[in-house]
């Protein structure tokens, strides 16, 4: 078989009601218990606000929440795009030669060990409180899974296909474009999903370290004044954002590599 698609076992992509139901039930139960606990125990709402209080507060502050979501989303989108471009670029360079691989790979791995806590303030000192340092930090901390995903993907190319192309007269770059890159696409989407969750976390943290607006700085300011209800509301928005972006990668995958999921559906061979 010439099926070169990668072998990660993941649940089928069409997530029907059956797949979602358990998660929803668990979540609902937790929220109900939380609500009961906060109302019965008489705990100070500044320590632990009830879900209903969080929602009311969040709704009241919706325009502030929204105003702070926009910059975070912007940073994430831009930083993440930069990460994809850089990650892809590194993967090409590394794939091109063993020498470059040996020269670059240790540096890339090293870059992933930089502690965010230490580096975020530095980058903000260098580039100011604007959007630039956030984009750089996000790119720095999320390009790596993309590079690794591409490299794994290239290596999964069917040697028969590569040999066939060579006998047809294709040279290196041509073989790369015709066989290696398409083979790597499903891997890329896996890397993308890992990177996108990183991106949001880094965005929030980078804002924490210094920003004029964004969910991170918003959370920090509200924590300082004990508005825990709004802190929770902001956390919910962050989570929703992550889920939406995550789902978007599946949509993009479906559009860009339509042959992939369907060719792996269980009733096919």
């Amino acid at each position: 078989m010439s099926t070169t698609s990668h072998q990660h076992t993941r649940p089928r992509r069409r997530l029907g009601v059956g797949t979602w139901a358990p998660a929803v039930v668990i979540l609902a139960t937790a929220v109900i218990l939380w609500q009961l606990y906060t109302t019965r125990s008489g705990i100070d709402p500044r320590v632990l606000p009830s879900p209903s209080r969080i929602i009311t507060a969040g709704w009241t502050a919706r325009s502030a929440l929204w105003a702070n979501t926009i910059p975070t989303l912007q940073e994430t989108a831009l930083g993440f795009s930069l990460a994809t471009v850089v990650g892809f670029g590194f993967s090409i360079v590394i794939d091109a030669s063993r020498i470059l691989r040996n020269a670059i790979m240790p540096l890339l791995i090293g870059s992933q060990t930089l502690p965010l806590v230490a580096i975020a303030p530095l980058v903000i000192i260098w580039f100011g409180f604007g959007i630039t340092p956030k984009i750089l930090l996000i790119a720095l901390l999320s390009f790596f899974p993309i590079t690794v995903a591409f490299l794994e993907g290239y290596r999964a190319t069917d040697p028969d296909i590569e040999r066939l192309l060579a006998t047809m007269g294709a040279h290196r770059w041509r073989i790369f474009r015709t066989a290696r890159l398409p083979t790597a696409m499903p891997f890329f989407f896996t890397g993308l999903r890992i990177a996108i969750t990183y991106s949001i976390v880094v965005a929030i943290f980078a804002e924490y370290a210094g920003a004029t607006s964004g969910l991170g700085i918003y959370i920090q300011q509200l924590t300082n004044v004990y508005r825990t209800d709004l802190v929770f509301a902001a956390i919910i928005v962050t989570t929703a954002l992550t889920i939406i972006l995550f789902a978007a990668t599946y949509a993009l995958e479906r559009i860009m590599i339509p042959w992939y999921r369907r060719s792996r559906s269980p009733h096919q061979r």
């Binding site: 015709t178 066989a179 096919q268």
Partner: protein, 259 residues
């Protein structure tokens, strides 16, 4: 050697004393064979004897330890454009639709997309792929995949075709169907072809000449001509001559230790 039309001619392809080993594993030992214009030659041998290696040497993927290959009387260049190769796996690109898979060779030759498609379209029906131009490989049956791979090979219009077990992955029934279909098609076009198979009947049914290879390292242990008239049909398979040649091949394989 007499050509198909009865005249004596120099061989198109001449392989002389080809020897190859992968590191310490000796795979081919002094293999010599010829292929004439319009001829279909089959290589029969046990699994793992070195048949596919033979093709990867011809196509320039593997450099032989020693030996000569001549094409039209001149030593062959590495990565020559003489061969159209069909690998043992069909090697269809899963992300390309059938139409873009079968035009792959033309695309690599630099033929414009529109022209490549125009050349291939009329052949889709002959290859039983009518209405499947826009399908992805995973939507095809095993036989259709093989025919698509074959079409991709044929449209390259190279002077020699190398088919590595084109029907190896098929069940017995579709295999026979494909064999009769291929015999008919080749009969009409007289494409110079080397066909690898380990199916004796397939070799006798399709070939003009058959080389029997020994287990690894492969040596040529017998060369058998198949003078059965063409076109051949299912009836040919029960013809006494057919059965005789089949027995002869089985004996050759047995005495070389393959059976």
């Amino acid at each position: 050697m007499t050509d198909v039309d009865g005249s004596v001619s120099a061989p198109k392809l001449c392989v002389a004393a080809l020897t190859h080993s992968y590191d310490s594993l000796s795979v081919l030992e002094e293999v010599s064979l010829t292929l004439h214009q319009g001829e279909l030659v089959a290589l029969v041998g046990p699994s793992g004897c070195g048949k596919s290696t033979m093709f990867s040497i011809l196509t320039g993927t593997t450099t032989p330890s020693s030996g000569h290959i001549e094409l039209d009387g001149a030593p062959i260049a590495r990565h020559t454009a003489a061969f159209a190769y069909m690998p043992q796996s069909d090697a269809l690109l899963p992300w390309r639709r059938v139409i873009d898979n079968v035009t792959l060779g033309l695309e690599m030759q630099g033929v414009r997309r529109r022209e490549a498609r125009a050349r291939v379209m009329p052949l889709l029906a002959t290859f039983g792929l009518d209405g499947f131009a826009r399908a992805y490989p995973f939507q095809l049956s095993g036989g259709m995949r093989q025919r698509a791979a074959l079409l991709r090979t044929v449209v390259q219009e190279r002077s020699i075709m190398l088919l590595d077990e084109p029907f190896g992955a098929l069940d017995a029934l579709s295999r026979i169907e494909m064999q009769t279909w291929l015999e008919d098609l080749w009969n009409r076009h007289s494409w110079s072809t080397i066909l690898i198979t380990h199916d004796i009947r397939e070799a006798v049914f399709l070939a003009d000449r058959i080389y029997v290879l020994s287990p690894r390292p492969a040596r040529v242990t017998a060369e058998v001509r198949v003078p059965l008239p063409r076109p051949r049909s299912l009836q040919t398979m029960s013809h006494p001559d057919f059965v005789g040649i089949e027995a002869q091949l089985r004996d050759a394989l047995a005495s070389s230790g393959a059976l």
